[in-house]
Amino acid sequence: MSKPEKQRRARWRLDDLIAYECALAKDDHEEWAVLRERDAAIGLAAGVESGGSRRWILRQWLRKRLEQYSSLQRVAGSVSQSLSVAGQLLAGAGFLVGLGAATAALAYNGQAPINVSAFFSVFILLQALLAVVLLLVFFMPRRWREFFAFGPLFRFLRWILEGAFNRIQAMVGRILTGEQRQEAAEVAGSARRAVSLHGSLSKWVAFVKIQAAALFFNFGALAALLFAVVFSDRAFGWQTTLQVSGESVHFLVRLVALPWSWLYGEGVGYPDLSQVQGSRIVLKEGIQTLQSGNLSAWWGFLALGIVCYGILPRLVFYVLGKWQVRAALRRFDFGNAASERLMERLLPRSSRFVAEEVAQGSGPGATEDSPPDQPLVESGPGIRCFCAAELAESFDHDALRQALGRLWRKHEAFVKLVFYEGGRMDAPVGELRENEQVAILFESWMPPIREHDRQVKSLRNALEPHVLIKLVLLGIPQGEDEAVSLRPERQYLKTWKSFVRSIGDPYLMLENPGE
């Protein structure tokens, strides 16, 4: 395998992704300048500039960060461990439930034998049916698979959670201060972002844990059955009100026992016809007339049924789930906003953020040690920049394009301004060219309102979910000539950052956060 190919396939484990998210969350509250200095010093700029694999670069970054910052490893470790402990608790609970349920089903007081039909229905038939359904799901295309495997459960949970959340929000909204409400919205946004970004992975992780719990449920049921058979005298029989002959039941039993009949045949792995007929319970006749041998012939069939229809399918699903977790990790898209920001930080100071400072040289944040302006790129994908038609009226379009071009180190010809009216974006978006970037402009001197929220969401709906949207804030025009400023006003910067977080779109980023 060639080196680029190897880099492209850089393997991420679940623990790595957890550590990566922890590292990004920690950096979220740091100053941009500090982060840029720190990350640029890691020495991955060459990889970024040569267009190296993002998976590999970010994996290297994570490795370095974990080396540099040991407490990060502890935090990530504790999250991973919590997941693992949750799985163990689920498995333990599954075992106990299985043990308890089977013990209850095997209760025998010498009056009436244990009803094989009831035990079989709950511990074998039901599980076998579930296994068949799940197996079918695995043969479906991925989208359908996730829809059927999790759809109903997720929709129900979402309905419950959304209802509860809205009620709580409405109730506490009256007693919370504006700042607290904003913080709550940010938390909800973070949750939405996490679901959107890691939803598929989390579903499969949950699937694996549930299969482990189900596996241990069967172990518990099997243990209870074997314990009851070995250490006590149990009688098994079958009964029905319907006019069913012993032959028919025997036929069904033989059918069910097919998977193991080659190993444990009739009379061992499942009862023969005479044993089936001899273990039929007719309540008015009592059990005194029934032979003990016939009454004990069923336990092997039940135990092997649990192994075959309970334990083995769960083992298979557990392995399939693990495989899906790995697939979800392989599919994980590092083109999201947080990773994009990180990639920018890995570049040395000659990045476009320095260009921004040069362009805004007269502004308060300009630094004397800024390197000279670099030539603007005149090739590559362009940037489509959406701007409300009403807002665009206040600016000279050429000046705006030039300023935006300087921000992205692109020639102004590569910046396309698209105007929209009434907050509707469907029509203006149209087809994006390959690798064309998308940005949306707002005034930074006004706090974000619902209309902004709807405009961003409308743009998202008109685009593919994984297309990165860059939110660009305009500063108050500077000087007598009212020059376009891309230095956002400090007054509302915190509010705009909070706004972006509260939307919870992992592919939305504040392009000029003003640090």
Binding site: R174, G178, E179, Q182, G422, W445, M446, I449, E451, Y492
Partner: protein, 461 residues
Amino acid sequence: MKTIPIFAIIGHPNEGKSSIVATLAQDDSVAISSSPGETVQLQRFDLKAGHEAVIEFIDTPGFQNPQTTLAWFRKNEALGETRVQRFIETHRKDPDFHHDCELLRPLLQGAGLLYVVDASRPMTPVDVAEMEILRLTACPRMALINPKSGETRFLESWKTAFRQHFNSVRTFNAQTARYPDRIELLEALKSIDQDWEPALSRAIELLRLDRKRAVDRTAEAIVDYLEQALRCSCSSFLDKESGVELERRRLEDEYRKKLEKIERRFRDETRDIYGIRRVSVELPKNSILSEDLFSERTWQALGLNQKQLAIAGALLGAGIGAGADIAAAGITFGVFASIGAALGAGSALWKGKDLARVKISHLPLGGLKLTVGPNVSDRFPFIQLDRFLLYALFISNWAHARQETSVKLGGGEVKQGPSSAWKQDELKRVTRFVRAVRKGNGEEIEAAGRELRQLLAGVLS
């Protein structure tokens, strides 16, 4: 149903609507925050004169969908006067439009509109949409410029737009507005709708009366607490002389604490008079009122200047001499009074800022009596009076929107207290009261107190 004028304060989020309401309604229970979105429901605040509500101000959430709302208003032009009502009915169940419905709701009650903007930023299409919505409602309306910074670059463009959309435009800084500014704004409100003129005139009249009552109560409080400060003393008994020094220090400390308590009680009462109950009024760090009563800076900055002090000392001394003249049935032709005045003027000039004189008396049955206070310095009454007056002025001009300190009293050597500007006549009124208190004559205290109250009410008005 209320018949008083109602005004809804409307605008974009975080333009200072709640601050304006707090200052105009003189109510510090209005929730104010530097971050947007603090107000989510309509909140009504009455401006009261005494116990009577004279004007109602409604704090509203900021516009959240101005352009969509304007588009709806334009599309439904045919609805005419029912447009606001229909808009609310149509959107009331949509959580996205909750704020917009809330802020338009007062218009159904016939409220006047005060549209608040921070004119230190450029105008945007969103602002234009908001102004246009308000114009389409056809309600009486005024634009209020609440400048958050000193930037004036955009002021003209704002004013031009306001002229097109509003009946009247005023600048009103909620953070620094004093009592006269508030009255001036209320007067200006008359101009946006003639129908409100009688009600607003009556409201302003009642407010003025209420203000006068508050000033009189404050003057009364100052006189009461000044009397307490002038009388303040501490004493204790000792068996032997060995512990005198220690006891003296303890008594001085107790005396200082007693004076502090008097000031604290005065400040509480003053805040109560002006209805500042919920927010903590913190004096700026460099304020002279934050200094200790007996600190060097307080005695440098407050009280009388040298010339005034000589006059005051003479007035106080003359009082003592006059007592001797009266005792001699006037035969001395005021000789004692003249000698007393000369001595008083001299002593006032050199007497330092002693905490208070310590008096040690031997008791007939053995033991000692130690007394600290009252302070006999001629400067002390004026310094104490200045502290009371400065605090009362600070509180009486407190803008209820100002929830953090922003008023700074200057420092330096220059006398900053109101008493430093007083002429002989005013000084005479104060010294007469001081003399009466020192003498302990109830009738004289009452008469001199009445005169002093009149003087103080004039300063506070």
